[in-house]
Structures are given as C-alpha cells and as structure tokens.
C-alpha cells in the first residue's frame, strides 16, 4: 500500500459511505468468499489470510480503528490482490500502517494491486467501482487528482451537506439528481482522501 494512504483526520462517515462499505463487504463475502471481521490490530490495517484450497474461502481481519472510507479502499485494493492471485498458493496479505510495518519486499505486489484497484474504482465493473453517477465525471476526477483541490472539494461538499441539513431542504431535494450526485461525490471524495493513490493518472 502506498505510504500516503492513512489520513486519520479524513472522517466523513455518511450514510452513503456506510451503505457503500456494507455493499462492498457483502460482495467480498458472496463473490470472493471472504469472511470479514473487525478487531483491534495495533500495527496493521488489515490481514487477509488464505487457506490452501478455494473451498475454505479467505479470512479478512480489519482493524477496528479504520474509517469507513478506509475500509472501502481496503476492500477494493484486496479484491485487486485476489484478482492478481497474490493470495496463492497460501499467502497472507498484510496491509500495514505506513512507517510501522515492514512491507518492502511486498512493494511490487502492492503497486500492482494499486494499479488494478485504481482501474476497478474508475472502471465499468459495477461491483467494485465508485458510485455510477460520479465515476464518469471528468470534472470531479480532475479536482480529486491533486491534494489542494481535493481538500478544497471536500470542504465545499461538507459545507454543502451542512447547509443542506441546516436549511431543512432535504425532504424537497432528497430524491433529486443533484442531491444524489452530491452524496456520491462526497463518498468518492472521502475514499480518495484516505487513499490518494486512487486518483493518480
């Protein structure tokens, strides 16, 4: 995992984010046979443990200190590892906390998974991609590509969300296309904020 992944201050755990996290976790369980549980893991973000045969499935332990946005990123990243066969024949995949865990000799496989995760996140695969309404937005993707514009975008979206609730207009706008776009944009921005490598060209 790239060293810039963890931004402990990037917390925007909206209902959209939580729903997206639950959807992706269910996808891992149903399609990739990964059972996920959350535990205190002081020195790593996640451990994906493999068994020697596919019938047994895989076990994923995720640190309970991860934010919802980080979990979404981890699921996509780990799905990429699996698609690349990095868990075979019996290899545990450790997603570490940068600076705390030695992952140097895994760096090649993590970079490979990162590339694939990025392609999956912005791609057409409905299961692992960013929400459909915003994933094709060149405007949003450009804003998320650099740190300063990403932070600015995030602040603007959070301010708009606050105004949306403060002005009590959510009932009028809840089902509107604009509101859905903004919700999805905030979700994607939160994920890319904790995993900026998803935005790299």
């Amino acid at each position: 995992m790239a060293p810039e992944m963890i931004d402990p201050h990037a917390r925007a755990e909206s209902g959209t984010l939580r729903a997206e996290e639950a959807r992706l976790r269910a996808y891992l369980a149903d399609r990739l046979h990964i059972r996920t549980r959350f535990s205190p893991l002081p020195d790593v973000r996640a451990i994906l443990v493999s068994a020697p045969d596919d019938e047994r499935g895989l076990g994923l332990v995720v640190s309970n200190e991860t934010t919802v946005a980080e979990r979404i990123y981890l699921y996509v990243h780990l799905a990429a590892h699996i698609a690349l066969g990095h868990h075979r024949p019996l290899d545990t995949i450790v997603e570490g906390v940068p600076g705390l865990v030695r992952l140097e000799h895994d760096s090649h496989s993590h970079i490979e998974a990162e590339r694939l995760a990025r392609a999956m996140w912005w791609g057409e695969n409905e299961d692992l991609a960013a929400p459909r309404m915003v994933r094709g937005s060149a405007f949003l993707r450009t804003l998320l590509a650099s740190g300063p514009t990403r932070s600015a975008m995030r602040r603007v979206l959070l301010a708009m969300r606050a105004a949306y609730y403060d002005l009590r207009i959510e009932r009028a706008l809840a089902g509107s296309r604009v509101a859905r776009w903004l919700r999805d944009a905030l979700c994607v921005t939160a994920v890319v904020s904790v995993a900026p490598q998803l935005s790299e060209a």
């Binding site: 068994a51 895989l58 019996l90 545990t92 865990v101």
Partner: protein, 136 residues
C-alpha cells in the same frame, strides 16, 4: 500419525504452554479448536512428555495444522516471547507433518511474521488461520 521427533515436539508443547498444566492446556485446545480435535487427554499427555512416537487420534494433516495454530495461540495467551512461539510452533508442525504442506505454511508464516510486530495482531492472525482450518 507418526511423530518424526517426539522429543522435540514434547519440548515445543511444554514451551508453548508457558508452564500451564497439561489439563488446562487440553481444555483450552478443545475450546480453541471448537471440539474438533480427536486427541484425548492421555495421548496428549504422552506426546507432551515425549513418551510416544504415535498420535493415533490425529488422522489428517488438517488436524495437525489445527493443533499447531491452537498451540501457537496458547503461546500468545501464556505470554511466551513471539520469537519463541514461532520457533516452537515450527518445530511442532515439522514433527507432525512433512513436506509439502508444512513448507507452504512455513513459507507464508516466515513472510507474514516480520510484518506483525504486535502480539495482539499475531494472535488475531493465528485465530483467523485456525478458523480457516476448522472443518466446514
């Protein structure tokens, strides 16, 4: 199942149990493995004392691997040093099963352990490993 080095396995079990009595260990092993170990107390006592080359109740490599994970978890619970847990766990598994399954497990263990610097994380990893080896 025939032990390749009963004396070494005995020493590994005694070290991983951290001085706890064998009865306590057996209870905890049954608990950790959700009752899937067929090993009876008398046989485990004999293995732990190096008094037998044969563990008749252990029929499959999967059972050996479960016992291996469970004993390593026990080592974590008994505050045995991480390096010792790994070394003794390896000695124990090598005593039970041969290549190539053991080689696969050791290879993964050796690649994974340097990344798990905390004993709590090591225990979570071992528990997940054990869960995957439990019968479905």
């Amino acid at each position: 199942m025939r032990l390749s080095d009963a004396e070494r396995v005995s020493r590994a079990i005694q070290t991983l149990s951290g001085g706890a009595s064998l009865d306590v260990i057996v209870d905890r092993l049954y608990d950790l493995t959700a009752g899937t170990l067929e090993l009876d107390r008398a046989t485990l006592h004999r293995i732990a004392r190096g008094k037998t080359q044969v563990a008749r109740a252990i029929d499959s490599p999967e059972e050996c691997v479960r016992l291996y994970f469970a004993l390593m978890i026990l080592g974590c619970e008994q505050d045995v040093a991480t390096g010792t847990i790994v070394e003794e766990g390896r000695a124990m598994l090598a005593g039970f099963i041969g290549e190539p399954l053991a080689a696969l497990i050791f290879r993964d263990l050796e690649a994974t352990l340097p990344k798990l610097t905390d004993r709590l994380t090591l225990k979570e990893y071992l528990e997940e490993g054990l869960r995957l080896w439990l019968p479905r």
